[in-house]
Symmetry: C2
Subunit: 387 residues, 2 copies
């Protein structure tokens, strides 16, 4: 009998999940969304089942997943946490990419009590970045440094922003205002968002600008690595503009009185700017990620004393064959691949688990890499001996 | 008996006019304004008479100037034209710096009918720029090129705008959106505001950026010079930011619906940005102007055939002794000096006259330069032989 995978959300990422899972003859796939147009698109393109439901309502979530063998979450960050809770209450294994602002692990005890495996932050970053950080921590002893850089960008740079948002623009602005937590000498240090800009070269793409963002999330406490930071990548110049808009107050969320009318500056900024940040139909994007780790290499479980730098690079582009943007594919496929590992019984641990918690499962990381490569998303690994 | 000079407007420029005219033992000076604090300041600092009146009402203007021998205008551009009309109706000679958006010469026939001399645009730019352009046209035959560059800037460059507004910030934004008219090959050509940015070096200040603005005003038709343009100067980078804000829509004057609330983007931008564009008390500013003209030099009324470039440079700074910013002083003094020339009977012509119309009066330009220099505002003249 076929296993049943239920995908919550039929947007771009949910549709890419549906495409991928529908190729699997052993799976029955259902996409759940309130938008009939989204459902019609995945039905006609991928032949999956669909269910109309308002997933902002947790009882609708519980009903939608009632006969699922695995649930995948591709919903807005705003309803990420409540949906996680609903799926755990329904006692279904869950793989989620919703990038919720809250710490999903507040439902860890509930998940363990219910015997549920819930893997959160399971996209590209957070997601593969977590898995690779956890993997580096397995390969090195001690692992001293982890540096994650990631960006989703339009392939063409167009004045003035040289940027389009591969996910919700409000979440992008949130990255530009929320102080970023990084780990220095074993302590969490808070730095201003958009701070410490640095130019970094990427083969095939040229020079990008990296800046601090609050992207470590669970890594800040799951890994005992004394130096860790996560930075976001943009084409040079974008950050300077964003700093000016932020400084001037255009990202403010309080209300300003303008001639007797009260308005939140961010709302007007969104109305004016976000249309310029929207990808055109068929417009190409790229996803760039680099995870670097430094430490002493382990061999057969013991340190060799050899200091190395491990590096993984992702450079992925829009796929014209499927018309899926890179950001959708690189986000969706880690979740579909991990969902299959859940169905295969390879992930025994229960609780709310960020992906770094999976890095110690024998062979899993290599299998994820291979499965991503089979889908055209290729991570290249490099090792440099430092001493 | 003392002559009576009436100054309409007691703001920074009106106050600088009052300071200058009050030093003249032959003059009785009255400053008119609705703001008692402004009146008290000029009374106590300069010992001038004051009169409280709402000058937005033309009948109040006519009453205020009833016994004036000369009237000086230092009012907002918005009421510039109606005030000009009121002074002409009162049959008083007028020297104005209000920078009105309209063409003041629409009241030329009325002024001539009433036998009134009304000199408009009589500050630094418009003002001295017009006088120098007219002067260049007197010195050269033919005068082929006139290039005016002018900027009022804070002495200290501070991120992000490196700019503060020496006059009404709304008028500054108007310069950034209004298409600029320049003269090329004898024809008026319209260029986008903020267009054709170019770096220009100024001794003592470094590199500035010049861009097209709609500053030729009357010069576009009073002088038969085939190539003329007026450009504004800013510290490099400011214009790039302003282009981005304009492109994004932050200078729009139509209303945008933001979550059910209608707001004009420019109004919010003004609320957020203009406070950052306001000079602090005692903060130093600089005024930079360069007027260049190319043509064949005249001598005793005939062309010598020698091609020359004439250049006049102004580089003026905030005056800590009087606590008047450079922009106030460089704007006020041309008007007070020309007002004295009016009182002395040196300007016979009636009508509404931009300053280039005064350039042919024998000795006047030299006298204006000398009087400005005596007030610490020094224009330096250069001549370069080109062939």
């Amino acid at each position: 009998m076929k296993k049943h995978a239920v995908i919550l959300g039929g947007g771009m990422v949910g549709a890419a999940m549906a495409m991928d899972l529908a190729r699997d003859a052993d799976l029955a796939v259902t996409v759940v969304d309130a938008r009939e147009a989204a459902l019609e698109r995945v039905r006609s393109r991928f032949g999956v089942a669909t269910r109309a439901a308002d997933l902002a309502d947790p009882s609708a979530v519980r009903a939608a997943v009632a006969d699922a063998d695995v649930v995948l979450g591709a919903l807005s960050s705003v309803i990420g946490l409540q949906t996680l809770q609903a799926v755990i209450e329904a006692k279904k294994p869950y793989v989620d990419i919703s990038f919720m602002a809250e710490d999903a692990r507040e439902h860890d005890a509930l998940a363990r009590a219910n015997g549920v495996t819930a893997i959160v932050d399971c996209g590209v970053a957070p997601g593969m970045s977590n898995l690779l950080a956890g993997y580096a921590n397995e390969l090195l002893s001690p692992c001293e440094h982890i540096d994650i850089m990631v960006g989703g960008l339009p392939a063409e740079r167009r004045w003035p922003f040289e940027y389009k948002a591969g996910f919700a623009p409000h979440d992008v602005i949130e990255e530009y205002v929320r102080p970023s937590r990084i780990v220095e000498s074993g302590k969490i240090v808070v730095k201003e968002a958009l701070s410490e800009p640095e130019f970094v070269d990427f083969a095939g793409l040229g020079t990008l600008e990296a800046f601090n963002t609050d992207g470590l999330r669970s890594l800040a406490d799951t890994l005992a690595v004394p130096h860790m930071r996560e930075r976001t990548l943009r084409y040079p110049g974008h950050i300077a503009l964003m700093r000016v808009l932020r400084e001037t107050g255009f990202f403010r969320k309080d209300t300003v009185d303008v001639g007797g009318v009260k308005v939140r500056p961010l709302d007007l900024t969104a109305a004016l700017m976000f249309p310029k940040w929207t990808f055109d139909e068929g417009e190409a994007d790229v996803t760039v990620m680099r995870v670097e780790a430094i430490g002493l290499k382990k061999d057969a479980g013991t340190s060799t004393g050899q200091r190395v730098r491990l590096r993984w690079d992702l450079f992925d582009r829009y796929d014209p064959a499927t018309n899926f943007r890179s950001m959708s594919r690189t986000t969706a496929f880690p979740a579909t691949i991990v969902a299959r590992a859940v169905l295969a019984g390879r992930i025994k641990q229960t609780g709310v688990l960020p992906p770094e918690k999976l890095a110690g499962i024998p062979g899993l990381v290599d299998d994820v890499f291979a499965a991503l490569k089979a889908r055209g998303v290729t991570y290249t690994a490099h090792e440099t001996v430092l001493s």
